[in-house]
Each structure stands twice: as structure tokens, then as C-alpha cells.
Amino acid sequence: MAEAEAVVPQVFTRRASRLVRVMSPYSAFIYNILTMGLIFPWTYVWAPTAFQGSNLVLGILFAFLFELPIALAYTWLATSLPRSGGDYVFQSRVFGGGFGFTVVFAFFVVWILQWVALSGWLMATLGLAPTFIGLGVATKIHAFTSWGTWCATSGGIITISILNALVSLVLLVSGFKNYVRFQYLMWYAILASFGLMLILFFTTSHGAFVSHINSFAASVDGTKNFFGAAKSAAAHAGVNFNPPFYLFGTLMVAPIAWTSLQWASYSVEQGGEIKNAHVFRNQLFIIVGSLAVTAGLLILLAVAMRHGIGQDGILTASSGYWLGNSNALIGGAILMPNLLAIALTTSPVLIAIIGFGYILNSFQIVCNCYIGCTRIMVAQGLDGLLPDWFSRVNARLKTPVNAHVAYFLASIPVIWAFNKVADWSTKWALGVTFANGAVMTLSALAAALLPYRARALYQASPGAKFRWGNIPLVTVLGGLGFALGAFMVGSFLFVKDLGLAYSNGKTPYIIVLLTAVFGLLVYFIMRTFRAQKGVKVEYAFAEIPPE
């Protein structure tokens, strides 16, 4: 008997077992960080004056904690369905195909058109404008300054956004391997850019900042005593420079920071034939680890900015974005974190490094939009829920060219409207966080219900071993993720200063409703169309009983 206790059997394989060495998770870990939008500025330019008295560090920490159970739930989902993963499949499996299609088509595919517009907006206002304005000041070449100023205008943003989307289209259609090579460059560029910003903020005193920003503004706009005037105008616009701590406001920083952190679960694919605990642990590392690192970096930036430009600097900069304080703009550009960092140096090389990272990361975002949404459209086309045209892969290029082209064309009117409709690019900018967050919140719910709605699938997964008492751990985490995600999604819907409720009008809600109705309409139209050809789209999701 003691001898039996000593035997820990190994698994017997044969050469044809198709075992694959488990990939190092580091590459996916790194690229997940890249996807989570280190450069997104809204935590630093929206939250401070929208929620005066809020603590940015605590708010980002709340966002991390709220996102954590969602990210953990995705780990279970990813290892339960490693081959065809993604929110469309997760939700179809648990809630049914009609639900999964409608939610993901409406709140990902359609709403992420706004991310295409946002990416162009970031490219122009966060990337090109600060970089060229900064280079203009550093090199005294006026053309740079003019060009940078143009980038921040409505016409400039629209032109740059369309070109941004077009270049991404061409790159991705030419072959994914070309994009992969480029992505490598982007990672190092954003690291260098972000690192440099932190160094500049941490090595600057408040006094030095004021001196630098005044000199910078004078070079660009000829303004004297820029900071004093901007701060005074901010106070006039309603900014309290010594607000008491505001807990609710700090909680509301979390949905804003969620714009970055919600993408922790983006990388849910994994290769390999055999699921095992290594893979489960790797997914945990990739998803949760990258979330923690990104949250840490966002917190570090908040601390660095507080050190370098002070709370009054943060509030003044924010007033230019949220309160429309035109005295707080330089060259027409909002005082984004990177522009503030650029103003702290006169070296064209450092300015170029900071700018290059932001430009490339903005470009990364539009690429992610294409990659994610065309993948969804191809899957939905194969399932018969979109016309076959969308799922066709070009024989020569081996990419779904049609889906890419369709997405580019659909983004053009959204880009135009995003920059022309009043308040859309500022007050309603995070509507896309709301929509995408809704999808992820529902996927967390799908994870919670996985052991009950897709029992066999769940039982076969490596995460099935983990329980909390009698309850599957994924149910606990998914349930918690759903509740916290619903809190943030609900905040976007009903808290005035998060956007949708800002104007007290019905328009944003009508847009939300219409998008969902549009998704449902597409589902029913395609279902009817296919049925007339003798094809039942329900077969794409309906589970056959094994007995």
C-alpha cells in the first residue's frame, strides 16, 4: 500500500499526440500591455475637473480591482474554448446565438467604429500635434509649429483619422506578418516614450514646470504668463484648486481608467492542442499580469505628473479638455500628458522620442480595431449571420480583404461625425468604453454561468478543478465581475459627468438603443434570408444532445 502511494503516474503519449511545447507567455503578456492603451489621456484630462476632489491614484486602483474579476473570468473562458475563443463564441455558447450575435455585433463591431475615429483623434491631438508643436519650439522651425497647430484643428483631425485608418487597412491587408514586424517596433517606441515622460516629470520641480510651460507657450502662441492666465481662467470656469477629497468622484475615475484596463482580456487566444495547467497559468499571467503592470504604469504616471506639474497643473490642463477653457490650450492643442512632458524639454531628440511612441501607439489602436472586428465579422459570416462576402479570404493575400474594406468605409462617416458633432469628441468620447464594457460585463456573466449552461465544456477545462466550497470559482469570479462591470456600465449611462447623461438629452440613449436594435435587425434579416435558402442559422450554435 505504501508502494502504491509512491506511484504518481505520468500521462502516456505517443509520438503522434501532436503535443506542442507551451509557448512562453511573455510575448502575449507584452502585447497585451501594448493593447491596453498606456497613452489614453482621459484619466488625466477628464477626471480631475469632471470629478474635482477625486484621487487619480486611488481611482486607477479601483479600476484595477473592478477589472480583476472580469479578467480572471476571461481566463476561464479562454481555456475552456481556446480554439475559437472570443466574446461572440463565449456568449453564443452560454446565452444563445441570437444574443451573442446581437450584443457583439452591436456593441463591438458597430461601436468600435468610434474607436477608429478615436484612434485618429489620438493620433492627431496626442501624437502629431504635440510632437510638431514641440519640434517647432525646439528647432525654431515655424513650419513645424504651424503643422502641429493644423493637426489639432477639426479638419486636420478628420484628415489624419482617415489616413490613419487607410494606412492600417493597407498594412493589414498586405499580410499579418507585416503588421507583426511593425508591432515589435511599436512596443519599444511606446516603452521609450512612456519611460522618458516619467523621467521628465519626476526630475522637474513645480517652479521649473511653470517656467518651462510659459516659455513654451510664448514660443508657440506668443502668450505671456501662460500658466497664470490659464489657471485664472480655470478658476473662473469653476475649478476649485483645493477641493476636499471626493470619494464618489474617485470611484468615477474607475470607469474612465477602465478605457485602458478593460482591454486586459483582449488576448484570449492561445495556440497548442492540449489544454493543461501550464496553459491555464500562462493565461492567468498574460491577462492578469498585464493588467497589473498597466495599472501600475498608469498610477506611476499620475504620481509623476503630481510631482512634476503639481495638482494645479493637472487641474489647469484638465480644464482645457473638460471645461473648454481655451486659455489652457497651446497652439490649439489640449495639454495632454505628453504635451506637458514635451514642454519640459528643449531637446528635439527627446521630443521626437516621446512623440514617436504616442504616434505609433495611436496607430496600434486602429490596427487592433481592424484585427478584432474583422475577425468577428469573418466568424459571423461563416455562421451565416452576415453575408458570405464578409468572410471571404483573398486567395493571393490570405487576408479577409472584404471585411477590412467594409470596416474602413463604415468608419469614414463616423470619423466625420465624431469631430463635427458638438461634444462627441469630448463629452461623449467614452461612449465606446461603455459599449465595449457592456460586452465584457456580459462575457463575465457568461463565465459565471458556464458550469451550468455549458456543463460538458466546463468540465473538460483545466479550470474546472477550482471551487469555492461547492461553487465553481469561475461562477464566483464571473458573478463579481458582472456586478462590478455593471456598476461601471451603469455609471456611464447615468452619471452626468461620464458623458451619456451630460446633455440631459435623449440622443445618446437613442443611439445606444438604436445600435442594439440594428444588431437585432441584422440577425433577424439574415436568419430569414438564410431560411429562404434552406439554411438554418441556429445550427451555428444549437448544441446536439449526445444521448
Binding site: 502504491a4 503519449t13 499526440s17 507583426v180 492540449i274 477545462s461 438564410r530 449526445p546
Partner: protein, 333 residues
């Protein structure tokens, strides 16, 4: 003009086939495959190869009615018969074989690949025989036939069960031309091009080409032939998978610029066959992650992919009539 049109003939009702492949020993997935006929209302079931499971889990008996095993990198200590039943059920879903043994018997196998391989064949053949018998039982009295064949991962020893156990409803179709309906035939080839794992039934691309040509020489009208070729056409999008470094064991993904490299692992000979013969439809498997369709002139080729390890049956329903593909639907059951 005949009063009743033949099934599958031009002007008549289309013949509906349900195709799936690569279930690799997963019991619930196979049972779903058999039930697919009634569920989807199809006329025949076609399986595209790779029936055999991949891993063998020894369950070692311990003290006082307990068992120990290892699965997915985790140790399992089963202390009740109910736990053992649940564990074996999980193995069934994953497509893994298992056997109970004493510690001494386990040690007899450990480190001896030839004995392990023989045990694989024994269990796989027995399982396949059960599956064939189940198909005969489930489809008895119906007009539905199930066409079974092996793939590159299956051993010839295991596949003997197909011929030995098939009686009425089960048709073993590999390397043969079989009738699908009154108007269409099917040609089946289960081999694949070489893989990093030296699977039992790999052939060079030229060898696959020779087999195809020999088979197709028996087909009077290739336009009314269904090609059931396990290996997908090369660089078609139906054969895209990770490139692996086979110089290490197990093979490791090749990484460039921080990302795995993907490539087409299909067969040039299959591509040439689709282009040359312009059959009614091409049905392929082998690459589990490459679900999709591709056109070769007038012919559409499909790979439904595979998610057997999750107990999900991925397949495709194709409707054919008069040498034409009249409709298709990817399924996920």
C-alpha cells in the same frame, strides 16, 4: 420525364450531407456526430478522418479503493467510485484513453514506448469497434449511412476495426469510390502531408497525388464527385496553422518578432485535384483551427475545424444536386 426525381439529381431534392472530422477519440463528440443526422435532417454523415485519441491516462489503484492519475498537468487523487466515474467521463470528452492498473503494471509500461503504443492500439481499436457498433445500432432502420475513414493520426491497426465491425449503415470509404446518392459518388483519402509528429499515416505530397489520381481514374464524372480528402489544399486558408520547430520535442512554435509564425500546411496535390477535377465539393479537416471555405474555380472546399476537446462538434452541412453545391451551413453542436 420521371414522376419522381432522384435524390441529388438536377431538378430533384438536394442531397444533404453532414461533414465533420478530427474528433480524436472524444466520446460525446462522436455521439453528437451520430445524432447529427436526425438533428440537422441530413441524408448522410461523412467523417473526414482522425478518429483516434491522443493520450493514454493510466489510473493507478492505490490503498483502500482509491486511484491516482495525472491530467492536464494536475495530479488527481480519486477517493470514491463516483469520482472515478466523473474523471473517466472527463477523459471521454477530451478523447483520452484510460486504463486501471496496479502499480506494478504501471511500471511495466512506464518508459517502454512500444508497450505503450500497443496499449494505445488495443484501446483505440476497441473504442472504434464500439463506435461502429453504436452507429449501426443508432441508424438501424433508417436510410442514413455514415461514411467513416481514418486520418493521418490513426494507425492501420486501429482502423482494422472499421472493416471488422461495419455491417449495414456504416460504410468504410477510404481509398474507395462510394455512392452517396443516385447521382454523386465520393472519393476519400485519409493521408496527410508530413507533420512535425511523424504521424502513422503521413505521405509525401507526390504519394498523395498518386493515390488521388488512381482513385479518380475510377470516377466517370468528376463533376459529380465529392472529394473527402483529410488533408486540406495548400495555402488555401483552410490549412493555416502555427509553424513548429520539429528539432525539439515536443515541437515548439517558431516565434518571430514576438509572435508565432503561421503558414499553410496543406497538400499541393489536393489543390491540384480540386483545380483539375472541379468536383461537386471538397471536404477537408486535419487543421483544427482553420475553419473556413475556399473557392477553386466552380468548386467550394470546406474545413469546419474541430473543437473535439471541448465536446463541441464542429461540422458543415452541404447540399448537393446535379453536381452543384446548392447550399451550405457551418455548424457548432
Amino acid at each position: 420525364m420521371p414522376l419522381f426525381r432522384r435524390k441529388g439529381a438536377a431538378g430533384g431534392e438536394p442531397t444533404r450531407l453532414f461533414y465533420a472530422s478530427d474528433i480524436h477519440g472524444s466520446e460525446p463528440t462522436y455521439r453528437k456526430f451520430l445524432n447529427a443526422a436526425k438533428f440537422y435532417g441530413v441524408d448522410a454523415l461523412v467523417f473526414g478522418g482522425d478518429l483516434m485519441g491522443k493520450l493514454l491516462i493510466p489510473i493507478v489503484r492505490g490503498a483502500e479503493g482509491t486511484w491516482r492519475a495525472r491530467l492536464q498537468g494536475q495530479k488527481h487523487h480519486l477517493t470514491t467510485p463516483e469520482q472515478l466515474v466523473q474523471f473517466r467521463k472527463k477523459l471521454d470528452t477530451l478523447g483520452f484513453y484510460s486504463f486501471e492498473c496496479d502499480p506494478e503494471e504501471y511500471r511495466w509500461y512506464e518508459g517502454h514506448q512500444d508497450r505503450i503504443d500497443a496499449k494505445f492500439d488495443e484501446l483505440a481499436k476497441a473504442k472504434l469497434a464500439e463506435w461502429v457498433a453504436l452507429a449501426e445500432e443508432r441508424l438501424a432502420g433508417t436510410p442514413i449511412r455514415v461514411y467513416l475513414c481514418g486520418g493521418n493520426d490513426d494507425t492501420d491497426e486501429c482502423l482494422l476495426a472499421l472493416d471488422e465491425a461495419a455491417r449495414d449503415r456504416v460504410v468504410t470509404c477510404e481509398n474507395r469510390i462510394v455512392e452517396i446518392d443516385d447521382d454523386h459518388v465520393m472519393a476519400t483519402v485519409g493521408y496527410s502531408t508530413p507533420t512535425p509528429w511523424e504521424t502513422p499515416r503521413e505521405r509525401s505530397d507526390d504519394q498523395i497525388g498518386e493515390v488521388i489520381e488512381k482513385l479518380m481514374s475510377e470516377v466517370a464524372d468528376p463533376s459529380r464527385c465529392v472529394l473527402n480528402f483529410h488533408c486540406p489544399p495548400l495555402d488555401s486558408g483552410l490549412d493555416t496553422c502555427m509553424k513548429l520547430d520539429a528539432s525539439v520535442w515536443p515541437p515548439a512554435p517558431i516565434i518571430e518578432h514576438g509572435q508565432p509564425v503561421y503558414y499553410g500546411a496543406g497538400s499541393r496535390s489536393v489543390t491540384e485535384a480540386l483545380d483539375r477535377y472541379q468536383p461537386t465539393v471538397g471536404l477537408h479537416g486535419h487543421i483544427h483551427e482553420s475553419r473556413g471555405s475556399a473557392r477553386f474555380g466552380r468548386t467550394t472546399a470546406f474545413n469546419p475545424g474541430s473543437e473535439y476537446g471541448e465536446g463541441v462538434l464542429r461540422g458543415v452541412i452541404v447540399a448537393i444536386r446535379g453536381g452543384q453545391l446548392t447550399g451550405h451551413q457551418f455548424t457548432s453542436g
